[in-house]
Symmetry: C2
Subunit: 332 residues, 2 copies
């Protein structure tokens, strides 16, 4: 048994520790995604919710509340809120990216249509808003309102710089803070706020979620060039969609005229030919961009772990620390 226990993955350990609360969150999600009048809403939502996903964000809220000694019922509402916001953004993202697959299934915009994805996303966002109002904390509402604005601003920024090879690391960081880290940070922070944790702990939870989210997104962007089929990502998707992610930004730094001309053609102009992906991978390695990106992801995971120092010494804190390792485990 003890051998098995040490073999338990960090994500599973946290999930097991929060099993009852997560069950309550899932119940609340199913209950609130219903609509008496518009049956298409639960159809579209269930398609996405049932497909699973790792439920990282609601787990952060539950773990933070538990770690800070919360005894009330509203961490469950806030965890469901965070998952609804996440699901709403996925629905809108798939419309914006014209995606065909998500979590191993056809996307909702493909199965129904873009209209349904836009409107059901709006519905879930409104439902998330109702859930957080029930929790009754203006401060929590402010944190989630700010996170929502950062998410939307990041998405518009990403659209504005799409295919622009002048995009630098500062803009990249702002984009991924919007698309990923803002909700991770808010998810952890509101768990502490609802528990009435001291200010330094609330700040630490925010910093932890922020760093964890940044690490998570950098790993995701790295795996798009590094991954194999086993990671669940298709190598080269970002390349084909001409996304300016960190590996490419790093490869462009100090690239000579010839290399710059290559990136301008394949990403900037979108003229891609047979063998270009292999050429891109070769350049990424030659410029050390893969290694530098990997190091950056690991450094952010370290920052996430360091932020936890301000929080109570508790098994949940150890599990949150292990989560930083879980996020980067596919690149170590």
């Amino acid at each position: 048994m003890s051998l098995d226990e040490t073999a338990v993955k960090p994500h599973d350990a946290l999930a097991a520790c929060l099993a009852d609360e997560m069950e309550a969150v899932n119940r609340l999600i199913r209950e609130r995604m219903a609509s008496r009048h518009a049956p298409r809403i639960p159809q579209v939502t269930a398609h996405l919710v049932d497909a699973g996903g790792k439920r990282l964000r609601p787990m952060l809220t539950l773990a933070a509340a538990k770690l800070c000694g919360y005894q009330g019922p509203y961490h469950v509402h806030l965890a469901a809120t965070v998952e609804f916001i996440h699901t709403a953004t996925l629905l809108h993202d798939d419309v914006v990216d014209e995606s065909a697959r998500r979590r191993g299934r056809p996307t909702a915009n493909l199965l129904w249509n873009n209209k349904s994805s836009v409107l059901v996303g709006d519905y879930l966002f409104s439902r998330s808003f109702q859930l957080m109002v029930e929790a009754g904390s203006i401060r929590v509402l402010g944190i989630l309102a700010d996170a929502s604005a950062t998410i939307a601003e990041g998405e518009v920024l990403q659209l504005g710089v799409a295919h622009d090879i002048r995009t630098d690391e500062g803009v990249y960081m702002r984009v991924i803070r919007g698309k990923t880290a803002a909700l991770f940070a808010a998810a952890a922070e509101v768990g502490g706020v609802i528990a009435g944790a001291p200010e330094d702990q609330v700040r630490a939870l925010h910093a932890y979620g922020d760093a964890l989210g940044i690490s998570f997104q950098i790993v995701d962007d790295l795996l798009d060039y590094w991954g194999t089929g086993a990671t669940g990502k298709n190598t080269g998707d970002d390349f084909r969609e001409r996304k300016l992610t960190l590996p490419v930004i790093k490869a462009l730094t100090g690239a000579g005229d010839e290399e710059r001309a290559f990136w301008t053609r394949v990403i900037g102009q979108g003229v891609q030919r047979e063998g270009d992906l292999e050429q891109a991978l070769e350049l990424l390695n030659r410029r050390g961009a893969m290694e530098q990106t990997r190091n950056e992801a690991l450094a952010w995971a370290d920052r996430a772990r360091a932020a936890l120092e301000a929080l109570p010494d508790d098994p949940v804190r150890d599990m949150l620390r292990d989560m930083a390792g879980y996020v980067t485990e596919r690149i170590v």
Copy 2:
């Protein structure tokens, strides 16, 4: 002067009475639609905001707060909130309806693209959420969260019953409560709540906004068959887009087999030929559907006026009463 004053239109009278506050609302809207990082946001929003629109919804909030004796600054935030929610839904509506024109201009989805409209709509919704958090009232947040959910649910419902000639008046009412009346009702209600008005007055403001919004939407749907170029609506747009609006629903009630076959072809199957719109207008008149729809709009305007009885006797109340006449003036 007094002759001129009696000639002032109800909308203009209310606008003049609320001029200072409306200026503050417009300032706040311009300030909050800015984005430091994503310049496309103010571009898209300004395109819509600068095009004008009647600003009916924020005027309802300001008028309700004034009528109930509010002295603080937050009615301005709530009025801006309501206009942001409205603008966000317009951006998403135009994507869903694939519209090409709005307020006499090309739509944002046509000028930029659907992606920008989806994401900028999300941004405005988040900004509205931040504004209402600043007002600091959980009750107000609950009212606006519920209204947002009703709006989104109504939109999805409308999508689900599109082109379905079995749609009845109950479903139609639910759809227009979502797409129009819910925000009118919430706009008026939050003005009373922020002013700390007694419960019966808050209920009356909600009932007024609800009835006014329903009347407004029925008039809009009626004018689509009745209007001329002078009303700013293109006659027959709803017909061409195969929308089941109240005139058609009423014409279908008691229609014989031949008439039903006509509506099934043009609305249900979308097979429309030269002369079909004229044929539709003839049937709408023959079945008394135009007259019945007009009477319904007038009855809801009466209900709006009646709801005001519970509110303080005040010049602002008289102006709100006149607004019910303004909404129906194009059909009397």
